[in-house]
């Protein structure tokens, strides 16, 4: 029905729907919720053809739409997805449905605005993943800060002002530098088209400057050490839904940006600074993993765990440069990085939703306030243990797949990289399962825990859906690998050719 403009529909349906919800107002809260659910489900259903009709054998952009937007500046409304972007779009539509459901009884204040913000954010995220015009990308990239800012600022915790300002300034600083870089590129080439920019020859000096401009933007987003400190604060203050969208999808924009911008446009500089990126990635894995162990606040713990897991994304992406010259499995590294993004989308969403379930009951996120939860909430306990296991990379869950691929590939680059990366096996289990021991197991520690009710059918459904995704992707990742095979291959072939003038 919408095949010619499927991506546009996916972007604008939730955005326009979201604006509509704003008009309905707080009085019609019941209707707002159902409409929000209907919109998110519709968006999800419409996104399925992206998967079913995708030609996995081709690296070409698919579902392309291209119209002139501002002719004078050669800006186009140009959309399309390749095998790397498409799974991220579907991840976005799935997670949004679950976020809407998770807010059902939890958000009372301005529920219409909350749902609207979430839906608008969904549209923008899909826009980021499908924009093929650099300026259009930048627009979505910047604009999505606004709904996120509002979500934390309005529905957040007591220290939300500090967190929102920190979040905004951090990310904004990064994106301003990227804008400068993009304008420079436009002045050099006269185009915003990503394919044309990828073909643009640049001197090493130009590439280096641009590389750092982009690097800061994406490193903040992902986030990488040492520009990661905004994330724990943002998560702690954000409402559950905000944390979910932040961890599950927004972080992925950083990794996606590296693959879509830094690698193809600046291959030589990326090659030059591979050592830096790999060092920072390994610091993320080990240092952040150690910091995660000692956290007392569950959300902070999961936030640090996210940063540590994102280390595998940047590690996998930049391993390509070490492997392609030695005939190593660079495709395994890059595919592993993308799978890690998708998998972390499901697992971190589930972890934050689990903390949300607890928070809704006792209004605290502190580990010490819990203990023996499984006595009163057996189903919840089972889910939480399962997702914690997935978070620590248990084979058979999706958390294993990406890390396994990246660690395997890293040995081909250097023994010590594999050694450092594999430490996550120990640290990941330590922070995930020590938390589980203190929160879930043991005898009931206080009366508040005694009074807790197990998950209701809505919460059960949300967690079960995520569990199914985590399991299926863990047991059989090949379909996902296959979808991105051609695109991964194309990125590797592209970056292996120098474009220095």
């Amino acid at each position: 029905m919408f095949e010619q403009s499927l991506l546009s529909v996916l972007i604008w349906l939730p955005m326009i729907g979201g604006l509509l919800l704003l008009a309905l107002g707080q009085q019609r809260a019941g209707m707002v919720k159902f409409l929000a659910l209907a919109l998110s489900v519709a968006t999800f259903l419409l996104s399925i053809p992206l998967w079913t009709q995708f030609d996995g054998g081709s690296a070409a952009l698919q579902f392309v739409e291209k119209v002139v937007w501002i002719d004078a500046l050669n800006i186009h409304y140009h959309l399309g997805v390749n095998g790397i972007a498409m799974p991220l779009v579907i991840l976005t539509t799935v997670i949004t449905v679950l976020i809407v459901l998770s807010a059902w009884r939890v958000i009372d204040k301005h529920v219409h605005q909350y749902m609207a913000a979430m839906l608008i954010l969904e549209g923008m995220l899909i826009g980021v993943f499908s924009a093929h015009d650099a300026l259009l990308f930048y627009l979505f990239f910047e604009a999505m800060l606004i709904p996120m800012f509002i979500i934390i600022g309005v529905w957040g915790g007591p220290n939300r002002v500090y967190a929102t300002i920190k979040f905004f300034l951090y990310t904004f600083l990064g994106s301003v530098l990227m804008l400068i870089g993009l304008i420079y590129l436009y002045m050099q080439s006269g185009t915003w088209n990503l394919t044309e920019l990828a073909a643009l020859p640049l001197t090493m000096q130009q590439q280096t400057w641009l590389f750092f401009a982009f690097f800061i933007a994406f490193a903040v987003k992902i986030p990488m050490f040492p520009v990661h400190t905004w994330l724990p604060d943002a998560h702690v203050e954000a409402p559950t839904g905000g944390s979910v969208v932040l961890a599950a999808i927004m972080l992925k924009v950083g990794g996606y940006g590296f693959i879509r911008f830094s690698l193809p446009i600046l291959p030589d500089a990326s090659q030059e600074f591979t050592w830096l990126l790999i060092t920072l990635s390994l610091i993320a894995v080990i240092y952040i993993g150690l910091v995660a162990i000692v956290q007392k606040d569950m959300k902070k713990l999961i936030a640090y765990s996210s940063i540590s897991h994102m280390g595998f994304v940047t590690l996998g992406i930049f391993l390509v440069f070490m492997l392609m010259r030695t005939d190593g499995n660079s495709d395994m590294a890059l595919t592993g990085a993308v799978i890690q993004m998708v998998s972390h989308g499901f697992i971190s969403a589930a972890m934050f939703l689990c903390v949300g379930v607890l928070y809704d009951r006792l209004h605290t996120r502190m580990i010490r306030d819990y203990g023996g939860v499984i006595n009163t909430m057996p189903w919840f306990g089972a889910f939480f243990v399962f997702f914690a296991m997935a978070n620590s990379g248990l084979p058979g869950t999706s958390g294993f797949v990406g890390e396994f691929m990246v660690i395997l590939a890293s040995f081909q680059a250097n023994f010590w990289i594999a050694f450092s990366a594999a430490i996550t096996l120990i640290l990941g289990a330590a922070y995930s399962l020590w938390m589980i021991k203190r929160v879930v197991f043991g005898s009931i520690t206080n009366e508040a825990v005694e009074s807790m009710q197990d998950v209701n059918s809505r919460e059960f459904f949300i967690l079960a859906v995520l569990a199914v995704f985590v399991l299926v992707l863990g047991v059989w990742p090949e379909p996902l690998v296959e979808v991105m095979r051609a695109s991964v291959q194309q990125v590797i072939e592209h970056v292996s050719v120098s474009k220095v003038i």
Binding site: P226, T229, Y287, N375, P395, W416, A422, L425, A430
Partner: protein, 652 residues
């Protein structure tokens, strides 16, 4: 039924049963849960034995087929599939048989437990995981099974989740295993790097090409690649098969229910490391260094962990330390290239050790879940069946001539004696003296539990009785192979070339073959020969000492304890491994994490750089703020002053 269907049913029937018992436990009820899991594991067991039979009779040849592609990267295809040869068939039969016995036993042991269905679900899931591990035809699936059995072990040690010691022990078990898995994963990554494949058949075929390759790890020093890979893989085995220093989790795992101590922490999961090294024999055979390392670790574990068993008073912990020691024997066998002997001992040990654990469980039921042997004694007249089978199990463990344990242990000792690999001399003394230690703690356990004075309180004494038939039947069914399986299978398994399709041994290292040629004619002959050899006298000595100290002169043990107080203290502290780990490794990690968080994250990055820059900007703007007061007369004044300054500048 063709082989593939057969194998699919063997592997997936327990998984299905686990799902039914776990997810629909309330609907199917207690009887439903144990019926469905026992049926599934029973089917797996019967089919596994059928497969084994086919291999024994020579009807079947190695089966190697992929089920589906897990992920494909160019010419590296990672698959899920089965490799079933004689080695796998032995493992499958042992696993499913012991698992079936434990399933039946559990009906009696857990009958009052509220988590009944959950327990059956877990042990069935364990059976599936273990089968995936042994039936795998590639390293990825091996790692899957490897960690999946670890997961179920974690869930089962912490089965009684209200017990603080249990949830401490399960976290500890998982973490220590993860340290091993860290090495294991690096080993797997090394395999991919060296051979460009994760498929067993391809890797083994390409093994000779890698012989001379080296890898630089520290600076320019070149290490043999195959040695690095083998040692890394073996670190995984050290975790799973509880070899020092990664053994610390196994004694604590006794906090779990007894049936799983028998199934997981004695008979099957802990032998995964032994199986893995045997499966990788084509790789290990290429590295003398790695094999020496394996041998020395095994020798240390075999002897020193056995010693701790002598001073333990908890009946299950004695058997746990005995398990550590016996795993050490198997590891020594691996280290001297006697892979088939290791698997042989693995099999006999699975029977008699499962028997001992389940027998101990039977005692624990009668004692109302008290496990301290100081409160037992004289139980033989209350529980005759348990008494007899425990004696059978202990005789097999101590290597009484003719029992299964005698054959398997003697072969290991003889093989170690024949080996001329670096370290074999030390290992020989360790396994030889280990025989004395084994006999000592085995008979000590029997005397303290079944003989002598009745030391329990009156309430317990009044209720003492033999366990129900669901408990004793598996004991009897395990006692039979504990006696006869060695006699029956030593010839075909070790000297008949049964596992030649699975195990590769260099001719120069083949001590088992040498043993078969010069020291073995028939089981009867071997038994008679064994009765005149050193190990037998050492075992007798152990028996004599135990009888004297614990049966004839019960007061003597206290005197000895006082005389040897320093030694006793060292043994009670288990050589300080736990203390060291807890204080320096766990404590150190927490301190480091806190330091990084407080100093680097909070003070340096956030305090100095992030908030520091905002403070800087705040300071600058505070300085500049007075210049924008908003009052027109301020601006006018500044303007006038400026004009005056400018004019005067031009005028003068």
């Amino acid at each position: 039924m063709d082989m593939k269907t057969n194998l699919m049913i063997i592997a997936f029937a327990p998984l299905l049963a686990a799902a039914i018992a776990g997810l629909f436990g309330r609907k199917v009820g207690r009887v439903g849960a144990h019926s469905v899991t026992i049926l599934a594991v029973g089917v797996s067991c019967v089919l596994s034995i059928k497969v084994l039979w086919q291999f024994m009779s020579g009807e079947a040849t190695a089966f190697n087929e992929n089920l589906y592609s897990w992920a494909v990267f160019g010419d590296v295809a990672i698959n899920v599939g089965f490799l079933v040869d004689s080695l796998t068939a032995v493992m499958m039969s042992v696993v499913t048989f012991v698992s079936l016995m434990v399933h039946i036993y559990t009906i009696g042991y857990m009958k009052d437990d509220p988590g009944y269905q959950r327990f059956f679900s877990y042990i069935s899931l364990f059976t599936f995981s273990m089968l995936m591990l042994v039936m795998s035809n590639n390293f990825m699936q091996l790692f899957f099974g490897w960690e999946a059995v670890g997961l179920v072990s974690y869930l089962l040690i912490g089965f009684w989740y209200k017990k603080e010691t249990a949830i401490f022990a399960n976290l500890k078990a998982f973490m220590v295993n993860r340290v091993g898995d860290f090495g294991f994963l690096i080993g797997i990554a090394g395999v991919l790097y060296a051979f460009g494949s994760l498929d067993y058949a391809e890797v083994f075929e390409r093994a000779p090409q890698v012989a001379g390759e080296t890898i630089a790890i520290f600076g320019q020093t070149e290490w043999s690649l195959i040695t690095v890979i083998c040692i890394a893989l073996f670190i995984g085995a050290m975790g799973k098969s509880a070899q020092a220093p990664l053994h610390v989790w196994l004694p604590d795992s006794m906090e779990g229910p007894t049936p799983i101590s028998a199934l997981i922490h004695a008979a099957t999961m802990v032998t995964a490391g032994i199986f893995m090294v045997t499966r990788m024999s084509p790789l290990f055979e290429m590295s003398e260094t790695a094999l020496s390392f394996v041998m020395l670790i095994g020798a240390f574990t075999a002897f020193f962990m056995g010693l701790i068993g002598i001073v333990q008073n908890d009946i299950k912990r004695v058997i746990a330390y005995s398990t550590l020691s016996q795993l050490g024997y198997m590891t020594v066998a691996l280290g001297v290239s006697a892979y088939s002997a290791a698997i042989f001992h693995l099999m006999t040990h699975a029977f008699f050790k499962a028997l001992l654990f389940l027998g101990a469980g039977s005692v624990i039921i009668a004692m109302h879940h008290k496990q301290d042997m100081k409160e037992m004694g004289g139980l033989r007249k209350y529980m005759p069946i348990t008494f007899v089978v425990m004696w059978i199990g202990s005789l097999a463990l101590a290597g009484f001539p003719g029992t299964s344990g005698f054959f398997s242990k003697d072969v290991i000792i003889e093989a170690t004696h024949l080996s001329d690999r670096f370290g074999a001399g030390v290992a020989y003394w360790a396994v030889l003296l280990g025989v004395f230690v084994t006999a000592l703690y085995s008979f000590r356990l029997l005397y303290l539990t079944f003989h002598g004075k009745e030391r329990m309180d009156n309430h317990t004494k009044e209720h003492l009785k033999e366990s129900p038939w669901v408990v004793t039947l598996p004991l009897i069914l395990l006692a039979i192979p504990s006696i006869i399986i060695g006699w029956m299978t030593i010839e075909p398994m070790l000297f008949g070339g049964f596992m030649n399709d699975a195990i590769v041994v260099n001719a120069a290292n083949d001590v088992v073959k040498e043993l078969g040629l010069y020291h073995f004619e028939s089981p009867a002959d071997f038994t008679i020969h064994g009765m005149m050899a050193t190990p037998f006298f050492l075992a007798l000595l152990g028996f004599a000492v135990a009888t004297w100290v614990y049966l004839k002169k019960p007061g003597l043990s206290t005197t000895i304890k006082k005389r040897l107080a320093p030694v006793h203290r060292i043994l009670m502290n288990k050589y300080g491994f736990d203390h060291f780990n807890q204080k320096y490794i766990v404590g150190g990690t927490q301190k480091l994490g806190n330091a990084l968080w407080k100093w680097s994250d909070s003070r340096l990055i956030d305090g100095l750089i992030v908030n520091g820059s905002s403070k800087f900007i705040y300071g600058v703007s505070k300085f500049l703020r007075p210049f924008q007061s908003g009052y027109v007369f301020h601006y006018a004044l500044v303007m006038v002053v400026g004009v005056i300054v400018l004019i005067s500048f031009y005028l003068f």
